[in-house]
């Protein structure tokens, strides 16, 4: 039972778990989360574009400082870590590899871009400084050389101006031909006369190195910008977007599938539930039906119990009737015998009387003496015979014994009446000892010869009870006792009455029989329990006795010892609360197992 229960719980838990998993799966796609990812990606792309613009602004000199170029670094890092957190759930799922890969390749390219922008800033700053300084440097150098008189102004100034212009042009249009021209002019500058003062030579060297710096930084910048130009950050973000979108689609599909599964599962569950419900209803019906049949059986049982009670009574009555019949039969036969004998003797008396009458008539008629003498002789003979035969004495004796027999019968009838009191349901004052006596009388033929009766009657008050019921108990107990005594032994049945406290009387019915076996003892008050052969007893006797005593608010106890005997002790209140005769017969609460 409990194992089944555990199994049931486990099954229910599993079903619910599956349901929960399926529901979770249908909710696995967090649209909001996806939207957040899309938003982050959009921000990343936006930032990337803005970054490009800032680089361009720095290159063209629109912005005076690089904060705007440097700031995206932190923003990029935070966006990237935000994206990482947001996509952490995606990676490891189906399609997550593509996302991880796209993220990785985005990281690679963004790292390159960061490096390129770093280098761009560095080179751009220097390019701007040198290019800004060139005109001033050329001016100072030109003035110095002219002032020192090393070279005439018209020789050196155009060269320097050319270099400055060409260099600045190179920044805008870094053409190889221009570069070569600049390099040629730088070589020219390098061939300045040796008479140049050291300070001017240093200035010239510096000027040249700034021109070279411009060329170098411009070239380097071009390379960096070229690099930046082809760095596919935006595309990588797009690829990343695609991968995430692809995965999102796949999860949506999976969600759809999960939803279908959920529906199927729910339908299956519902069907199972319906099946369970139908089974429940069926077993409920079955239960009701078996309940009904049980109730019927119970009613039948009760009915049969009533019937059994009735039949027990009948059987008690039967025993009683047998006893009574026997009791009556003896005096009856006796009375009949005497009556028969008297009947025979009536004939002699009739003859005597006839002869007496004729003799008297003859005398009055003064008839022949012979006739008179004849009749006298006949009369005398008849009278003599009547006297000799002591017919009248005999008849008197016969009548006396008939009268005896009749009074015996009438005694039995009184007892019978006492026993069963036709007003049986009525409660009346009852002398327990009388009850015992009349019961003994009724049970006489059962006890006859076989059992000695010892009466130890203490003086006890009358009790208020249903005498017929109490007598039934006595009869039952006395009959049982008589039956319990083996044939080979002189039976002694001891009946005792005594007071039990102030308001109770005690009756003991003791035999010296075989005793009740221990395994039987607990069952003796059970209904239908019997040790007698089938048909010999209803098995209701003690149960009914028990019930009767209970109904009288009394107590019945049994004490038994093997081969020593049994004593039933009944205690009855002098004044029981209410004795309801009906309660005994039709009583729902009558214990089937006492």
């Amino acid at each position: 039972m409990s194992k089944n229960k555990i199994l049931g719980f486990a099954a229910a838990a599993t079903l619910i778990a599956v349901l929960i998993v399926l529901v979770a799966l249908t909710r696995s796609v967090d649209l909001e989360a996806h939207n957040r990812i899309v938003a982050t990606l959009r921000e990343m792309k936006q930032l990337d574009a803005e970054w490009n613009t800032e680089v361009l602004r720095s290159k063209t000199g629109f912005s005076e400082h690089y904060d705007a170029v440097a700031r995206p670094l932190a923003q990029l890092a935070s966006l990237e870590s935000r994206l990482e957190q947001q996509t952490a759930g995606l990676i490891g799922r189906e399609g997550g590899d593509a996302v991880a890969l796209a993220l990785q390749s985005y990281r690679e390219v963004i790292k390159k871009k960061i490096d390129a922008v770093e280098h761009f800033k560095s080179q751009n700053a220097i390019l701007r400084n040198s290019s800004r300084y060139l005109p001033t440097a050329a001016q100072e150098l030109g003035d110095g050389i002219t002032a020192a008189g090393v070279l005439p102004a018209e020789k050196i100034v155009p060269l320097l101006a050319d270099l400055v212009n060409r260099s600045l042009s190179y920044i805008l249009a870094p053409e190889q031909s221009r570069r070569e021209l600049i390099e040629g002019q730088l070589a020219q500058l390098g061939r300045l006369p040796a008479s140049l003062p050291a300070e001017l030579a240093e200035k010239a060297r510096l000027f040249a190195s700034h021109v070279e710096t411009v060329l170098r930084q411009q070239d380097a910048g071009d390379v960096i910008l070229g690099e930046l130009d082809v760095l596919p950050t935006a595309e990588r973000i797009d690829v990343l977007s695609d991968a995430i979108a692809g995965q999102h689609d796949r999860s949506l599909l999976a969600q759809q599938q999960a939803r279908q599964w959920l529906i199927a599962y729910s339908v299956a569950l519902l069907l199972a539930l319906a099946w369970l419900a139908s089974r429940l209803i069926r077993s409920f019906r079955l239960l009701r039906r078996s309940n009904a049949s049980l109730q019927k059986a119970h009613a039948e049982l009760q009915e049969s119990q009533v019937y059994m009670v009735q039949s027990e009574k009948m059987s008690a009555l039967g025993q009683m009737v047998a006893g009574i019949a026997h009791e009556i039969n003896t005096p009856l036969a006796y009375v009949k015998g005497t009556v028969d004998v008297m009947h025979e003797q009536i004939a002699g008396l009739t003859a005597l009387l006839g002869s007496s009458r004729r003799f008297a008539w003859l005398m009055r008629q003064q008839a022949d003496k012979s006739d008179i003498r004849d009749e006298f002789v006949k009369l005398e003979a008849l009278a003599k015979k009547t006297v000799d035969d002591a017919v009248l004495e005999e008849m008197d004796a016969l009548l006396e014994s008939s009268s005896n027999g009749i009074s015996q019968i009438s005694e039995i009838v009184v007892n019978l009446k006492n026993f069963s009191r036709l007003d049986r349901a009525k409660v009346s004052q009852f002398d327990v000892r009388e009850g015992l006596e009349s019961t003994l009388l009724l049970a006489k033929n059962l006890l006859k010869n076989k059992v000695r009766i010892d009466k130890e009657f203490d003086d006890i008050p009358n009790i208020s009870c249903s005498p017929s019921q109490i007598n039934q108990v006595f009869l039952n107990l006395i009959t049982n006792a008589a039956q319990a005594i083996p044939d080979d032994r002189e039976g002694v049945l001891t009946l005792r009455t005594s007071r039990a406290g102030t308001d109770r009387v005690r009756v003991e019915i003791q035999d010296n029989g075989a005793g009740i076996p221990a395994d039987v003892l607990p069952k003796i008050f059970d209904p239908f329990f019997t040790t007698k052969e089938v048909g010999k007893g209803t098995g209701m006797g003690l149960s009914i006795s028990y019930k009767i005593i209970q109904t009288h608010a009394g107590r019945i106890e049994v004490d038994t010892e093997a081969e020593v005997g049994t004593v039933f002790t009944i205690e009855l209140p002098v004044q029981p609360p209410v004795v309801d005769d009906d309660a005994m017969l039709i009583d729902d609460e009558m214990p089937l197992a006492a």
Partner: protein, 326 residues
């Protein structure tokens, strides 16, 4: 977009570029230096916790060194030594930069190896010659301090942990913002700095210092070769590993001797200068800059005007008051 980047310019682009290159049209360009913000919004509880931790010597292995030992807040956020001294008196290989305004640096450390203050803060604790500790030790020690644990719990739901320690310190550092007279000047208060200083600023721009030292932090937003126009290290001699700069991070030849351009805010307080602490005075540092970064000479007067300008970058005393609590 990418076509534009290439700047193989249409006529308009050409015109604009020419105008800028030819003389820095002031009308077109804003100032290359931006003032510090007027307000900084930070969580006061976190700032307070960070402040405590910043001064907490238990962060070091032997309990002798706090962040503040090398970044003295009463001394420009530096230790004023060429190289720092860590636990057991170990000498570091590089000059300690200031923590003031470090939040405005695009990266942290001379070589930019930390991309954020958070990333940076864990560095010294583990650096064997700086604080030489580890989180397990630090946390074990700090957790014995109920007051601190309670304070951390009040500032962070997660309570005291490596992450919250780092976050608190970084938050505290972000509060170390030092607006100066020059910021007021930039905001239009012409009398905030003297005429010489204003002239010095002009020269600072004209000579091209702003090519590298620009932006809100007057530096701190790009890498540059130290020795653009001449070999500084050949001249100085005694090359060290630290001299390699960003090369130590990237391993790229092009990154040799490349350093983060330092912020010049509070520069008057942060001597000695440069990553090697080789310049003892601002004048020396400016000389080196002219020689090796600009590749030009300048009259001593211009240089001293520039130094005067640099002194206007020292933060006002009440700098911290601009941290707004939220």
């Amino acid at each position: 977009m990418h076509a534009m980047l290439k700047r193989r310019g249409g006529p308009a682009g050409l015109f604009l570029s020419l105008a800028v290159w030819a003389g820095g049209n002031a009308a077109l360009a804003a100032e290359p230096i931006e003032p510090l913000p007027l307000r900084v919004e930070l969580d006061a509880a976190k700032v307070a916790l960070g402040n405590k931790l910043f001064h907490d010597k238990r962060l070091s292995r032997d309990g002798t060194i706090a962040c503040a030992s090398c970044h003295r807040l009463d001394s420009g956020g530096v230790d004023n030594a060429p190289v720092s001294t860590g636990i057991d008196g170990a000498k570091g290989g590089i000059n300690a930069p200031t923590v003031f305004n470090a939040g405005y640096n695009f990266r942290q450390f001379w070589d930019g190896r930390a991309s954020s203050l958070e990333e940076q803060a864990a560095g010294p604790i583990h650096n064997p010659i700086e604080m030489g500790s580890d989180w397990q030790q630090v946390l074990a020690k700090l957790r014995q301090d109920p007051a601190l644990v309670a304070q951390a719990a009040a500032a962070y739901p997660a309570g005291l942990s490596d992450e919250t320690i780092v976050d608190a310190i970084a938050t505290f550092e972000r509060s170390l913002v030092t607006p100066s007279a020059f910021d007021r000047y930039l905001r239009g208060d012409n009398s905030a700095i003297g005429l010489d200083e204003a002239r010095g600023y002009q020269l600072f721009k004209n000579y091209g210092c702003v090519a590298c030292h620009q932006g809100v932090n007057i530096g701190g937003n790009m890498f540059q070769v130290f020795g653009v126009m001449g070999d500084y290290f050949a001249k100085r001699g005694g090359p060290t590993k630290a001299d390699l700069g960003r090369y130590n991070v990237t391993g790229l030849e092009a990154d040799k001797h490349v350093f983060k351009v330092p912020s010049l805010r509070n520069v008057a307080l942060t001597a000695p200068y440069f990553h090697d602490g080789s310049a003892n005075t601002l004048e020396d540092a400016v000389d080196v800059m002219f020689r090796y970064q600009l590749g030009r000479s300048a009259p001593a007067e211009d240089k001293s005007l520039i130094v005067k300008f640099l002194r206007t970058l020292t933060g006002d005393k009440q700098a911290r008051s601009l941290v707004a609590t939220r």
